[in-house]
Subunit: 429 residues, 2 copies
């Protein structure tokens, strides 16, 4: 069928739909017969990106390389991390070094640990540990990040869906929800939100920082995972949330997170959280029981390799050069295969790791299953909603970072065929 | 005073004691005037030991170095660690690779996490999360490791002191204690116990593995921190506790821990826990929410550097060559300064990181304080007992690993003077 002849599916006659169904079903069987094995399920950097940063492996070679001032990075100690590492993160995030706790290879673990400690010990302004309260809730702007939601779910908090807009969480809903003292916090990915890729607007950020929640220990989990992760165009400055929170009279409400997982090596990077000094002192009094120190040698390796924000931005341009063609390969396919058929809408972010795709209601799960059967693994349909349940069964997360561009092109073609087939099945059956 | 003239303090006449007090007090003031700054507080390896393992820094240099079979150690994934790393630990500990979870730089964190999850979720055989029960208790063989005790304390468990013998925990006390269903577990350092340096006897190990606790989820925290850490003489084989536990009908009762903190770099090593496969599957279902994976690149670095148990034992001989002279410097000083004066007794271990010193009752805190004022920091008196309270105020932990041997000799001389002064103060005042 030539481009010119493509009609929106909604305009197909019964017969046209049947013919199209048969053609697409045939195509699908041909694809299936190929026995593909393609992975678009997770925001994993590609081998090309990992190879690019190999110099980080040999930054530290001799004992004398292993010092930050007088601190021997190799030995025990310095719970909150190397001073040079705290300074690095402060530079990247725009906060103060004393507001930074430099951690290990996983910011997710730091998030888990903070929610875990809220549950077992309570946070700075908690009246009691969360596990001693009943019926607690946590706000989950959706579509969002499944691993975030899973953390609050595993501790028994009820997940409350908040709609995502192109400017961030629907703040009318949030402001209403926080009047309930059982609502203990909210998950946020403020820049290149996972998966929609939107950036929270200045107004949204102000409204979050100005919330007057009923819970004294209301907690904003501010996962700034993609703070310098543009893949299209120049770095877009993003404000220091801790400074804004101070100005808005909520100095202790935010816990910000970041990592180098998508800058250096995903499994062997460094992470941090940033918060007010009062929060920091309180948390350190708990974390000191858990750990003597995180891996400071790896912290030093990273600081010597990444140097500062400016140098890190230059590195991110190199990642962008790898990511951007993949991103455009997906967009091109969606533009030519899906748009003229009217089978969905999608976000066009400038950074982050995902494209969020909305099909017509009720088609996401079926499309995901068809993809799976054809050997293309995507993030599970529904995963971006609390409890894995997408109320409209329409959102799919496209993670285009891992496969080489040729494989990706093949995978996205499979996706397009599967979506068309899922739509046609409904029309002809 | 020459060696020949040294009398036990208990045999000093009033006048002799007064003269001795004045002499020792003068000596103490001379020492104080030097403004020393010596640290014998923690089991920190020395710079010489860290420098010795510098080759580990450059084991991985190129992308192709970073694979364990087909697994790219640099990327996300493999929650339970690299297969080669699980196999390494199985070799060292004598268990099976599938019983090993390979972790990050801190076995302490793994211990904390398991107790934390017991509290928030419960363990495999728990009827409910520990935090949903009241009045829970944990057995603490003492003197023991303060960081262990702190973990169970921070979660609100009552710490129950069990006496340490030269064969391990007093098993009569333990067997009696576990009849109480509120008693949820016990801390153990089975080889070169921290701080006494004793090795649990075969009989003790059997009795622990054969316990019939009232609590279905009774948990033995088996911290095998010094499993291959001889500093005097050859490696002493130590049995696989998981196999013994299976034979004794308690397959799920043990969680074993180990790390390379005192083999490679204390702050940048790798750790593991080992447990039954059933426990492993249960724990992994919880840990998957906390982490995508630990630092597999560092796991691979370690496996390539340490290779296997045999090669690791050869490395430990080199550590022993550094540790042993320090250990003997302490023993020599105690033998010449303390023994003839009858001012205490101490353990003479063949491995581990500590010497446990018992002064006459009531002198530990005062001795510690005198040391501190003279610039010698020791592990806080009482720290090796639950809540930091040594009922007889007599035990001090000597950590001789960190200072260079000349500094150590000076520090231990200061310690001897302080102990003598503390004893004499009691006699003359």
């Amino acid at each position: 069928m030539s481009e010119l002849m493509i009609k929106p599916y909604s305009e197909l006659s019964g017969e046209e739909a049947k013919a199209e169904y048969e053609a697409v079903e045939k195509k699908y069987q041909e694809i299936k017969a190929k026995g593909l094995k393609l992975d678009m399920s997770r925001g994993k950097p590609s081998k090309q990106q990992l190879d690019m940063v190999s110099d980080i492996l040999t930054v530290l070679q001799k004992p004398e390389d292993c010092y930050d001032g007088k601190i021997d990075a190799r030995n025990y100690g310095n719970l909150d991390g190397l001073p040079c590492c705290r300074a690095y993160w402060a530079d990247v995030l725009g906060c103060k070094p004393e507001e930074v706790f430099a951690g290990g290879n996983s910011s997710l673990s730091l998030m888990y640990d903070i929610i875990s400690k809220a549950c077992t010990h309570g946070l700075l302004h908690s009246e009691k540990p969360w596990l001693k309260e009943e019926g607690l809730k946590f706000l989950c702007p959706s579509p969002g990040y499944d691993r975030h939601f899973a953390i609050t779910q595993t501790f028994g908090l009820e997940l409350v869906t908040i709609d995502m807009t192109e400017n961030g969480p629907d703040m009318d809903q949030v402001e209403e929800a926080v009047k309930d003292p059982k609502v203990k916090g909210i998950w946020c990915v403020p820049k290149y939100s996972n998966p929609t890729g939107i950036i929270y607007s200045e107004e949204t950020i102000k409204r979050i920082a100005s919330l007057k929640p009923a819970a004294p220990d209301f907690t904003v989990m501010w996962d700034n995972a993609y703070s310098i992760h543009e893949f299209d165009g120049d770095y877009i400055p993003f404000p220091d949330i801790l400074g804004i929170a101070r100005e808005c009279g909520n100095p202790d409400m935010f816990y910000e997170f970041a990592s180098t997982s998508k800058m250096t090596l995903p499994g062997a990077g460094i992470s941090c959280f940033a918060c007010s000094v009062d929060n920091m002192n309180y948390l350190k009094s708990l974390i000191t029981v858990q750990s003597i120190s995180y891996d400071k040698t790896n912290q030093l390796r990273h600081v010597k390799y990444l140097k500062d924000k400016e140098n890190s931005l230059a590195l991110m341009k190199k990642h962008a050069a790898i990511m951007s063609p993949k991103f455009h390969a997906v967009l091109d396919a969606l533009d030519s295969e899906i748009k003229p058929r009217g089978l969905g809408s999608w976000t066009v972010p400038k950074g982050g790791y995902f494209i969020s795709f909305d099909c017509p209601d009720g088609l996401a799960k079926r499309t995901w299953n068809l993809c799976k059967e054809a050997g293309v693994v995507m993030t599970t349909a529904g995963a971006t909603f609390p409890y894995g349940k997408d109320p409209r069964d329409r959102t799919l997360r496209i993670a285009h970072s891992l496969p080489p561009v040729e494989e990706l092109k093949e995978a996205i073609q499979v996706f397009c065929v599967c979506l068309r087939l899922a739509a046609l099945e409904k029309m002809v059956k």
